[in-house]
Each structure stands twice: as C-alpha cells, then as structure tokens.
Symmetry: C2
C-alpha cells in the first residue's frame, strides 16, 4: 500500500560544482510504502522529479533500519513515524519563503559534479541566520536507474492519459447537456 | 598585544567515547592577539581550562587565513572581525540556559576517546529544537603541549601570587586603619 504524504512543486537553489547557483522548480514527492508480506515493513520514499525534464529522477528509500543511521548521523530527535511530518513542515517553511530575495529557509539541490548527471545529489533544507547557514536536514539521493525512470514515465503517461480521457468525457457531457437544454427551449 | 574578549566559567556537557555524558564546569577564554612585526597579523586564541585540574588545557589558534577555511567548512556568514562577538553571543545563550533541565542552547565538549587525554576534542554549541540537534559552531581544539601547560601554569601562579599579595596588603591597611581609629578614640 502506498500513501502519498506530499507532492508539490518547490523552488530550489540548484548548486553544481564550478557552476553558478540557479533557482529551479523541482517536484518533491514523499510516499509511505507499507508491505506486510513476508514481514511487516514500512519504507519512506522521497522522489525528486522535474515536470519539464522527463529523465530527471532522484530517489531515496528510507527503511525503518536506515532511519536509525540517519537519526544518529543528523542528530534527529524524532522517530521514524514522526519524521515525515517534520520533513513536510520544513518543506512548507521553504515554500513560505521561496519568493523572498533572502529566504530564511531554503531548499537546496546539490551535486558534486558540474552537471546533474548520474552521480548522487543532496537535498538540503537550510536556515540562514545572521551568523551562518544551518542545515536542518540533508538527504542523499541517488539518480534513478533506467528501470526506475521507465516505471516513473509509465505512471506519468497513465496519469496524463487518464486526465485527457476525463477532460474528453467532461466535454462530451457538457455538449450533451447543452444540446438537451437547447431542445427543451425549442419545444 | 593581547586583548581578552571573554573569560568565564561555563557549564558544559562532556561526552567521551563509551562513557556516560556528564556536566562539568570549564573555563572558556577568548583572546585576540595582534602582532605587527614582521607583518601585521591577528590571531584569535580559544582556550579551555579547568580551574580544578591544572593539567586540563585545550587550545585553538585561528589566524585570519585559518578562518577562511572555518568559514567555508561551517557555512559561516560573518568575517574574521565579527566572528568573536558572534561566538561570545552564542556562549551567552548557553550561559542563560545552563541551569535548565532541557537547555535550548548547550555547550558540548566532545572527545573521540574514552577519557580526555591528549587527543583533539571538539567544543560545540548546539541548539536543540523539537526536530533535531543543530550545531551552530564546532571548533576542534588541541590538547596543550607540555610547554603550553607550563606557560599557562606559570601565568596562573603569577596571578594567584599577585592576588595573595594584594589581599595581604589590604589586610595590613585595614589593620593600620583600625589601629589609627582606636588611637583616635583613646585620645
């Protein structure tokens, strides 16, 4: 079972090695995947995509065990179940500030290479105060494999087709209602 | 020329490897050393000592060049001249909170070994919010060499001797004044 907890386009500061920083829109999606066969297991899936670039896909799957390492490494004080909401709260703080020239909370997407290629990247949530940049969260994401991108594009295609079909049906219904209304007037 | 910017006893959380955390009083001193011969040069000296343990001495000397690395490494947004005051402001935030059970700002003294021996240690200023521990500053200090401890103890000894002498002189003056007062009454 997959529960979508967050799925929004956010403005991020994109920083690549030896390149000038730029602002870009990225889609951040957070999903909770539960399986109970063979064992009860929960994974948090963080996915970064770009609605304009179909090949842009970065993934991070955090299991309950992985989370323990992340917790120690980043000095987190919440458990696995409370983490997604705290992460979403931080993303909302970024959204609130994203149109400001000097946002207090900023979403960063960092690559250690000159271009966003197949190397891992970091998604950081950074607070800027008068003294320093304070990193509230730093997640290491892997570039999607061909299989993952294929699967993601298939889902996107299905969604777009369903949306188109829905729009066509709505349009058809609207025309039928109009025609019925016209006949009633004429009678 | 040495200018003392800060010299106070603070309560710190001492964390050694495989040991239970404990609270201890440490003296933090921050000095600005200026030399103009052969070149104009400023060094910020951070010294951690323990008024009870004469051999406890950790040092960090930050030159203007060193500061550039520290600035990049820790995402600082202030320059060398503004840094000491910001550091002192953070220490004052720790002082304000040090008697609380759950201080928002905490001074930490960390060693990667089971005891505070001759290995480097970290002086951290950590903010704790509902989500995580946020490190505002982390300074790596080196244990004082025999020569440094010798010099430090010589200064301490000179200060204590001067203080004792001052107290003896004050006491002497007090007695003389008392005796004079007594004579005046008797006349």
């Amino acid at each position: 079972m997959t529960e979508t907890l967050f799925n929004q386009i956010l403005q991020a500061q994109v920083k690549c090695k030896d390149c000038e920083d730029r602002r870009a829109n990225i889609r951040v999606s957070i999903e909770l995947k539960s399986t109970s066969n063979p064992v009860h297991k929960k994974d948090l899936v963080v996915r970064i995509t770009d609605d304009i670039d179909p090949y842009f896909l970065y993934n991070l799957v955090i299991s309950e065990e992985d989370f323990q390492s992340l917790k120690v490494q980043q000095g987190l004080l919440v458990d696995f179940s409370a983490f997604p909401q705290k992460f979403i709260d931080l993303l909302h703080q970024c959204i609130q500030e994203q149109d400001k020239d000097n946002p207090r909370f900023l979403l960063q997407f960092l690559s250690s290479t000159p271009v966003l290629d197949h190397t891992p990247a970091h998604l950081n949530i950074v607070e800027t105060n008068a003294f320093k940049h304070l990193t509230h969260l730093s997640l290491k994401l892997l570039h999607g494999t061909d299989v993952e991108i294929k699967k993601y594009l298939a889902i996107c295609l299905t969604c777009v087709k369903a949306q188109t079909k829905y729009q066509q049906q709505s349009e058809q219904q609207r025309r039928e209602l109009e025609s019925l209304h016209q006949k009633n007037i004429e009678q």
